[in-house]
């Protein structure tokens, strides 16, 4: 049928459009010639060069450290924040949530320069600490976004039942509430980690003293011209993101299944 053919064609074109650039990058990461036109021979040398490149390795180090730290800290703060917000009255809840989503709604360049302004105002030298604080700030709303729905799904009498049986509020929190919302906490942590690894704009404005992350390095390298090491880097990052995404997707669909059964 013509209709089906048109649909197939359109779908193929769109997916081609989406993937062509990435595939080209990956393919040419194995090309021994620097040019993007001619194919020389298959090689892993750019991958090796990649790992020898000090600039890239240093920024990879910072990227991962910042991502792990900001994921951990923002998950902790965000989880407690979500629990607290859940227990607030209507008015408080509205105010806090609306303020909370500002970094999500604002263009990232505005969040970036506002934080930069804050650090100047606080006389904080731009570097590791400022980048970390910025990352935590934009990660927390996403953690809250993951945890809050889980709290709403929870039977609201669980905490009361625990306290009825003798648990102090803190014990109830530890042994009842947190285990119950754990899936949301983990998804939030994964999201925070992924967002942090991928961030450019906010990091760009709020770092200094030689602290960079992968995105910033790619930016400065790309401005100077094309480098095959970046192609190799792209392939590796693509695989990493693919794995992370599969994990998150698996968790969300398992969760939907579980809820469907219950």
């Amino acid at each position: 049928m013509v209709n089906k053919f048109v649909k197939r064609l359109y779908t193929t074109l769109i997916f081609l459009f989406l993937y062509a650039p990435i595939i080209i990058l990956i393919v040419f990461s194995f090309n021994s010639s620097k040019s993007r036109g001619t194919w020389d021979s298959f090689t892993f040398k750019w991958y090796i060069e990649l790992f020898k490149n000090q600039e890239i390795m240093k920024s990879l180090y910072y990227t991962i450290i910042i991502a792990v730290l900001s994921a951990a800290i923002s998950t902790a703060i965000g989880t407690f924040a979500a629990i607290g917000i859940y227990n607030m009255n209507y008015f408080g809840k509205k105010v806090v949530l609306n303020l909370n989503y500002l970094p999500v709604l604002n263009p990232d360049i505005v969040t970036a320069i506002s934080l930069m302004t804050l650090f100047r105002f606080m006389n904080l030298e731009l570097g590791f600490l400022s980048m970390l604080l910025s990352h935590i700030t934009f990660c927390i709303p996403y953690v809250i976004l993951s945890v809050l729905p889980k709290l709403k799904q929870m039977n609201k009498h669980l905490a009361e039942a625990a306290m009825d049986l003798g648990a102090t509020p803190f014990y109830a929190l530890r042994k009842v509430i947190i285990p119950e919302i754990m899936p949301g906490i983990i998804t939030g942590a994964l999201m925070a980690f992924t967002l942090s690894i991928d961030d450019f704009v906010i990091s760009f404005f709020n770092t200094g003293s030689g602290v960079t992350n992968l995105s910033i390095t790619v930016y400065s390298m790309a401005r100077r011209g094309i480098k095959p090491e970046i192609n190799a880097l792209s392939s590796l990052m693509f695989i990493t993101v693919l794995v992370l995404l599969l994990i998150i997707n698996n968790r969300t669909s398992k969760d939907i299944e579980r809820r469907g059964e219950a």
């Binding site: 993007r36 924040a81 607290g84 263009p107 509020p169 995105s215």
Partner: protein
């Protein structure tokens, strides 16, 4: 119970890292170096040079949003009509590039469009002249569409799959043709997703500076580049803040307009 106090650390954090910075930007925009109140930062913006930049930014943002809508709606529809397993797989594939590093995705287009890039390579091999594909409006537009298309498709898709099949069947039962079913039932019901998508494309498109810098070149200025320039090169934080405030106002207006359409306030969301 009385557990709400455990959110107070975050409330404090929010005030320190979200509220105060924005206030500072506001203050900066209304002052000069010696902290006296002034409107000159805003007045400075209303010069032809800068207004042109704003105009181009809005123009490109609108064009890319429209392009994403026209290209994205059909694909959202096509995927939503597949079986659950197939469409989950397709949507995952669709979303995957979105999660790839944004810099690298934009950089990938540089390799495609550049003077010695893949497209020009193919063209010369076929005997054509190499084209100047990079460092112009079209390249930036292409970059925007490429980056933001999934943001348009996802919300529309997630609303489309939630449409009750029995509504479509009821319309068909009452005699509506395929086109009428679309225009009278499906499209109106998908509007919240469309609104969501438009919001999620227009705003970043308006405020981007990476796409314009990498694909437009060092002399290409959108409003995002202007802000970057003021803060990092020219050192005029007051002017930069004013521009940011203007940008936020635009975004606020866009949000108000879209929320008028989306009375449900449900939107499409990302998941």
């Amino acid at each position: 119970m009385k557990l709400k106090w455990i959110s107070y650390p975050y409330v404090f954090w929010m005030i320190l890292f979200i509220v105060i910075p924005l206030m500072l930007v506001l203050v900066f925009s209304f002052t000069t170096g010696n902290l006296s109140f002034t409107l000159e930062n805003f007045q400075k913006f209303f010069q032809p040079l800068y207004l042109k930049v704003l105009g181009k930014s809005v123009d490109l943002a609108l064009k890319s949003t429209l392009a994403c809508l026209i290209l994205g709606y059909p694909i959202a529809m096509i995927i939503s009509k597949e079986s659950i397993k197939k469409r989950n797989a397709m949507i995952l594939l669709f979303v995957l590039p979105m999660w790839m590093n944004f810099l690298l995705r934009t950089y990938a287009w540089m390799t495609l469009l550049g003077k010695n890039g893949v497209i020009n390579f193919l063209l010369t091999k076929m005997g054509f002249e190499p084209l100047n594909l990079l460092y112009n409006d079209s390249a930036v537009l292409m970059g925007m569409i490429y980056n933001f298309l999934p943001f348009m498709v996802l919300p529309i898709y997630s609303v489309l799959i939630k449409i009750d099949k029995s509504l479509i069947e009821a319309a068909e039962d009452l005699g509506a043709s395929k086109l009428e079913v679309f225009s009278k039932v499906i499209f109106p019901l998908s509007l919240p997703g469309v609104i969501s998508g438009i919001t999620m494309v227009f705003m970043p498109a308006l405020s981007t500076f990476v796409i314009s810098r990498l694909l437009g070149g060092g002399q290409y200025y959108l409003i995002g580049n202007l802000v970057e320039q003021q803060f990092l090169l020219a050192g005029d934080w007051n002017f930069g803040s004013a521009i940011s405030i203007i940008m936020m106002i635009f975004i606020l207006i866009a949000m108000i307009i879209t929320s008028k359409f989306d009375k449900d306030k449900e939107g499409g969301g990302l998941w």
